[in-house]
Amino acid sequence: MAHGLLVKNNNGEVLIDSDFKHYHFLGKYTHSSLTSVPDLLEGGVASGAQGSNANKGVENMPAKGEIYKYQVAVNGATPPICFVKPTSTGSNAPFAGIVLTKQVSNYWEIWIFQSAVTSASPVLYCFSPLSQISNSTSSTHGLKTFDSSGAVTFDSRFKPLKVVGGGNITAPALAHTGSVGSGFTVSLNVNASNVSTSFTNQSSASDLIYYCPSLAHACQQYTYIEADEGWHSYTYYAWARGDLWWCFYRSCFRIASTSSFQANYGVYARGHVYEHKVDSTNLLLGLVLGAITGGAYFVAAIAALGNAGVFTNASVDGGNYLPYENGSRNRSANAFIISKASYYD
């Protein structure tokens, strides 16, 4: 560097460089609202005269997680770095991750998805470049650096971001492995093994906060069709039922210990679409079966999806009543960063 300040630690790692636009503490944020994606249920007769009426709802389906929404006031085009202070840590803690980062007028809307419902709520510790922070202070102590343009890049009075660890982590390939169901019993719970990676050991897991936006998402489904026909009380009957259950998962994370970071999935949304036809006059079961593939229920499901503000790119025209089936996206590794809440409390 031709001018400025460069600070390294004893390992030669750069800690302060006046050419870098260091992020500084914006504040702690609690959620402004809490929600979850409504179940997407569409189907025909609730109680058919013939055939099974089992599980026409969401029986046996895994529980959904919940979505915490935050409004982080920062006036600038660069999104804040929002660390998650989880509700708990350890091997039984829920997983959580940022699933939405969106600028709305003079604030950023941040959504945290947590894999399980808890009484406590995650808290955000947010950071931003000094140019996007309007804090003021009367303190005259500390260290302040400038870049070659004269812009302030580091100011110790505004609690610069201190990173104590980090690494890369990749979500599992799929949320659920193995059989996805049998008969009218669905099995789409998250059973993938946790992915673990280590970071520099710290003294207290409960003090740690992490930044690792959720990138990976997966969608898996289970379909089942059952039908029968025959004579009963001098009447020929035919019935058929077809079902499709699905879950949409987002990757999320947790602090497993003082040196271990884990990734897995949580159930973000779920649905069940079915058709159940009973006919005592139509002798051709094939026609009944044909009716099952009709798109009316899927169209209704799509309408419900749209009303709920989810799956905005889904279209029944392409058969995409789900975003995609039995697959995942964006699984490449993402970096995670660890800091401590006590630095900023």
Binding site: T101, P129, G166, P213, N313
Partner: protein, 96 residues
């Protein structure tokens, strides 16, 4: 500490210490939706990691792709997996 740097506030509280900080944010780079972009002049350090965040999605379950990337020297090469479904992505490069 025997060497390094510590910064204190007016009350004597420690604000920054070189003993407990590791990664430094080197830069923030944005690739717009459905584009393939190379960002130049990324500072070089022995160890670098890159966080990605998808920005300005409509909801948390958009059917979308995040940019992929490779970091080579001072170039951060970001690639759209899809020409129509790749969201705006912000890259934050940390190094030590």
């Amino acid at each position: 500490m025997s060497y390094g740097v510590e910064i204190f506030d007016a009350s004597g509280g420690e604000i920054f210490s070189s003993t407990d900080s590791t990664f430094t944010l080197l830069g923030v780079y944005t690739s717009n939706a459905d584009t393939t972009v190379t960002h130049a002049n990324v500072p070089i350090m022995p160890t670098r990691i890159v966080t990605r965040v998808m920005v300005d999605q409509i909801s948390g379950d958009d059917e979308s792709y995040v940019h992929t990337f490779s970091l080579s020297g001072s170039n951060l090469i970001t690639t759209r997996p899809s020409s129509t479904e790749t969201v705006k992505t912000v890259f934050m490069v940390f190094g030590k």
